[in-house]
């Protein structure tokens, strides 16, 4: 149960990044935070969601939505010389040739992909100045 500390770290990182944005966008409200969580990351997505409301309270992230993208395990099979996706984590064997694989390429991710902000205030403040709006 280390999900609360993980969520707290997400809130801190997003808050820091928000403060590092150009002046005009400071104080913007965060609408959504997107995470990439590997199947082997030892993290329960439901627990992250459960902690989200509490951890974001009183911050610029309050009321935002947490979107978690689950990343499957991908191994390199030396026999097939191919990168293969595993359907589960009960057997680390190549789904094509059934040989054991130990070369893990993907599946332990635990990262913040992006966050979305309401930039209305920022745009108004900036007027016609360029502030690098994207998306």
């Amino acid at each position: 149960m280390h999900e609360l500390s993980i969520v707290a770290s997400v809130v801190d990182t997003v808050t820091e990044s928000l403060e590092a944005l150009p002046d005009a966008s400071k104080g913007a409200r965060v609408l959504q935070v997107r995470l990439r969580v590997g199947v082997l990351a030892s993290v329960v997505v439901e627990s992250l969601e459960f902690c989200w409301g509490i951890a974001t309270e009183g911050t610029s992230l309050e009321g935002s939505k947490l979107v978690v993208k689950t990343i499957p395990v991908v191994m390199h099979c030396a026999v097939c010389d191919a990168d293969v996706k595993l359907e589960g984590v009960q057997s680390f064997r190549c789904p094509r040739c059934d040989e054991p694989c130990s070369d893990l390429l993907q599946g332990r991710e635990l990262e913040i992909e992006s966050f979305e902000i309401d930039d209305e205030a920022g745009l108004e403040k900036a007027g016609n100045e360029e502030i690098g709006v994207s998306g």
Partner: protein, 225 residues
């Protein structure tokens, strides 16, 4: 409403990972092999480590241990009977050790220098889930499993077993009365971490410990420690 997406692509445990990288460099500079021992509570990490520390010392190796628990210094006191320097880390409710705790306790450890050690053992908090997310900069992660826990433990906790470099089965002296299915346990460990080195040990009788010491010696040489 004008919305904007800010790309971050940043590891959530980046701070821990950076600290762990720093620790790894310090271990390498000190020439010490660091092992992170992870298992459920009650697997017998402390008994296994006690025997390991005693025997390594008697063979002339310089060893020390950091031991994590939520509360009490019982394990540290028990391990200190081996004569090796041992330091307790109380996490006060946190379910794992992290790189910052290791860094802090190494910094303020009177009389212990990494350069003066051959092996540093870190006994993690008894937990098969959370410790697997936290890199402590270790050279070798050891997953322990006792014969009383059920042969399917590796299947239930694949993340930990898959991230381990070696597996140790403990309490082999009571395998038979426990009805431990050795073949099945070995098969399950291999399903999750194909080709992993597995040691079948008993801290009580000393069974399997010679192979373990051979592995440690070899690992020190190959890891350049």
């Amino acid at each position: 409403m004008t919305t904007r997406i800010v790309e971050l692509r940043r590891g959530i445990l980046k701070k821990n990972d950076e600290l762990a990288r720093g620790l790894r460099a310090r271990y390498a500079a000190g020439g010490v092999l660091v092992l992170n021992l992870v298992s459920s509570p009650g697997t017998g990490k402390t008994a296994f480590l006690e025997r390991t520390l005693k025997e390594l010392r008697s063979r002339g190796s310089r060893v020390a241990a950091l031991v994590g628990d939520l509360e009490t210094d019982n394990d540290a006191r028990r391990l200190a009977s081996s004569g090796a320097p041992v330091r307790q880390i109380n996490t006060h409710g946190i379910c794992h050790l992290d790189a910052e705790m290791i860094d802090k306790h190494l910094e303020s450890w009177d009389g212990v220098e990494l350069g003066g050690l051959d092996y540093l053992f870190i006994e993690n908090v008894g937990n098969l889930v959370c410790p697997s997310s936290y890199d402590l900069g270790e050279g070798i992660r050891v997953a322990l499993l006792s014969v009383t826990e059920g042969e399917d433990k590796p299947l239930k906790y694949p993340t930990l077993f898959n991230s381990a470099d070696a597996a140790v089965i403990t309490k082999m002296d009571i395998a038979e009365p426990c009805g431990f299915d050795r073949t099945l346990a070995l098969k399950n460990i291999n399903e999750i971490r194909p080709g992993i080195r597995i040691f079948e040990t008993s801290a009580k009788t000393g069974a399997g410990m010679e192979e373990w010491f051979g592995y440690l010696d070899e690992a020190r040489k190959t890891k350049g420690a």
